[in-house]
Symmetry: C2
Subunit: 247 residues, 2 copies
């Protein structure tokens, strides 16, 4: 379960908000992909002063559902799972956070879901209140925040289609294509897709059991559409997987 993010972000990552000012933000590899990409240089300095670095090991929790949301986060390296638990233990993963992803878009009083790290993870952490004040004073940042939230919403709606109206094989194919697209934004290569989450996590994201996920992956591998590798898959026949995923 080592460190996928490193495997896909060549040189060692310089964290956004370490000790001294926005020098770090300027070197931040995910800045252009995140909210920070919308900031002016002076705003970057201001935001940097609000942030403090967060480093987590795999499995450590960032926050829990229904708790007061004291912080918001910008993931700089590693990945996390975002999920809701039902009282009886059933779990629905509502998303996976990758480098550049912002957690806490909604700025609501309480967290809508729990989040914990899938791999060692680093993030810029902000006090929700301080961050909220920061964006309130800057319409174009608020606008960007809203754009990000809109994008999240449309991803959630797409996931509703997958959950409600697709077969197990289509779900897994759509998942792979979706992850491919997201990793492609972060690194150039896109044939080998890191899967930092377990089969159980994938199942809880797609509304399937572990076994079904495993079977579908095995089937795709048997058909030479993918190759299962440690901590990921290699897409051998992207067209084929896309055609399964699209319908």
């Amino acid at each position: 379960m080592a460190s996928h993010s490193e495997a896909h972000s060549a040189p060692p990552l310089t964290l956004c908000p370490n000790a001294k000012a926005a020098v770090h933000c300027e070197q931040c590899r995910v800045r252009s992909l995140s909210l920070c990409g919308a900031l002016e240089p002076d705003e970057l300095v201001e935001l940097d002063r609000l942030s403090r670095p967060l480093t987590l090991s795999a499995r450590e929790t960032m926050f829990e559902q229904d708790e007061l949301a004291h912080s918001v986060f910008n993931v700089t390296a590693g990945s996390a799972r975002l999920y809701r638990l039902l009282p009886d233990g059933r779990r629905q993963i509502v998303g996976f956070a990758l480098p550049g992803d912002f957690l806490g878009l909604s700025l609501t009083e309480r967290n809508a879901f729990s989040a914990d790290a899938l791999t060692p993870l680093t993030a810029c952490q902000f006090s929700r209140q301080a961050f909220s004040d920061f964006v309130d004073a800057k319409p174009h940042v608020l606008r960007k925040l809203h754009q990000l939230a809109s994008h999240e919403l449309s991803m959630a709606q797409e996931q509703m289609v997958i959950l409600g109206r697709r077969t197990a094989e289509e779900k897994v194919a759509a998942f792979l294509i979706g992850m491919r697209l997201r990793w492609a934004r972060l690194s150039q290569q896109s044939v080998t897709i890191p899967l930092p989450m377990t089969r159980q996590d994938i199942g809880d994201f797609l509304g399937l059991t572990v076994e079904t996920v495993s079977r579908m992956l095995t089937r795709l591998a048997r058909e030479k559409a993918i190759l299962i590798v440690p901590d990921g898959v290699r897409l051998l026949d992207v067209k084929r997987i896309e055609s399964i995923a699209e319908s």
Copy 2:
């Protein structure tokens, strides 16, 4: 299929943007529930000038997925279904719009879904560009827009839990409780729930077939938890339905 909204909004509804200025907005029954509730009186006048009334019969379409989004809407009466279609005809309803709901929160270039009226419907229609300019100049309105989008996002995530991890009976119960909550915001009474959509629509919202929806409703009715009435259901045992829905 007549007119539910009237049945649940006692006196005849005065539309928001008819002919003369914000007098109408001030009389608008859903104003406080919608984006307009966040506006100052002078802003209300300004927005009113941007709007034009839209009246649709049942089944008429408001807009279609992937089309350029020329307009945004604020529903003032009636209801609509929002859905995505797969190439092979499978359909996922991503939400139902009720009076007070805003369509076009994301302000994106293209529509993420199609929308058509379930009942006769009235709405305030705005040019997307004009509306976008309007909110851009008013941070507190943008903030409100973002709050509404955040709420949508959290509803979408809740729906992901329902779609991915709940049984047919739980889905139907959760649907009824959800509709109860939404109607309760619009009218006082909340035991008789209007269901302007067909069983097929409910199925396409919950990831079920018509038959299963019908069977689950029949079962709940047989158990005296609900009473099926024309164009809706009466909740006889709210506690019971909630307990099914919660887990």
